[in-house]
Symmetry: C2
Subunit: 221 residues, 2 copies
Amino acid sequence: MYDTLLDLPLLQGLGRADLTNILEKVKFHFDKYTPGQPITAQGDKCDKLIFILKGRIRSELTDKENRYALDEFIDAPHVIEPYSLFGMVTNYSSSYYADTDVSCVTIKKEYILTELNKYNIFQLNYLNIISNRAQSLHNRLLHTHVGDTREKIINFLQQRCLNPSGEKYLHIRMEDFAILIDDTRLNVSRALNNLQDRGLVALSRGEIHIPDLEKLSKYKV
Amino acid sequence: MYDTLLDLPLLQGLGRADLTNILEKVKFHFDKYTPGQPITAQGDKCDKLIFILKGRIRSELTDKENRYALDEFIDAPHVIEPYSLFGMVTNYSSSYYADTDVSCVTIKKEYILTELNKYNIFQLNYLNIISNRAQSLHNRLLHTHVGDTREKIINFLQQRCLNPSGEKYLHIRMEDFAILIDDTRLNVSRALNNLQDRGLVALSRGEIHIPDLEKLSKYKV
């Protein structure tokens, strides 16, 4: 158990003695979820850190205004949205569901501030994780460029995914996708069918399955 | 002097007694710059926090590959790129120059970690500032959408500016801008001239002056 905890993103580098001290003072809330069960919902107040200890979760980003939803998959060890615990908008930006059997541990924000932040290594891990996210998002923004239909489809996914690699599902109607990337329905359909012929996406009604976004991103005509 | 320091982004909320304690242990390095003098350069190692106490600075983001440079202006009190002191890429993402007479104070990273981080309020300010940046960048990525030539020009600026309002200069050749936003030179030129007629931009050779990005962003045909 100790080793699993010390493997977690924010706790890495802490000593076993530090962890013993922390466990004496901080309430760790352990939970288990079965496949499909919701863990936390987009828009909910983020007032705790949820660490995924075992299993795989699915994140779901829903954009009601633009009528799409984007699914991604994340393996343990993982911490859910540490960047939503502070700042102006302390709400989850996606929903999270168990995709396999999942074990997790939750720590409330008050303990983060009063106890965990006493440890330099924890502070440093936290600052590094959020700074990394800010740097990676900035980098993506600088490298957004408009291209042909295929490039616009790939850019759309790259800009919105938490993780630039791995399996994704985009739930969207072809008409709505065309509007979002300012192209015609016919062009979008042609480009997607072309990517499907190459095994890079699989199309079904209202859904685009991307087996590996990295592979799709690397594809050049 | 105390009041000026306690107005700084990361120090806000500290007590005067805290600041006295900090000043006893931490070396604050004070500097003055005259208009045009460089403060720090894009790509340089970020191993300190530079606080702007008085005056106005100009930031300059240069993208050599895509052959453009983007200038923005920032008023004191301000801290330069706190999100570049931690994370994977600890280099400044822009260059900074004095635009008026500027006073600033510099604190080395080692003091941030050993002394300033002892104060809960400082930790919290730091986490809030970087989380805000990550949230605002994510929000911008989610709302990138492709549009007509005018919208693509505005999107390009919004995606790359530190601050969504205020005066900007974009140094770029019309041909390069057209390639970047995947449009024709003629369309880009037409759209820019149209915006110039409305006083939203001012064009000169190799340079686009935006008096107020917020006003430009709000403009609807």
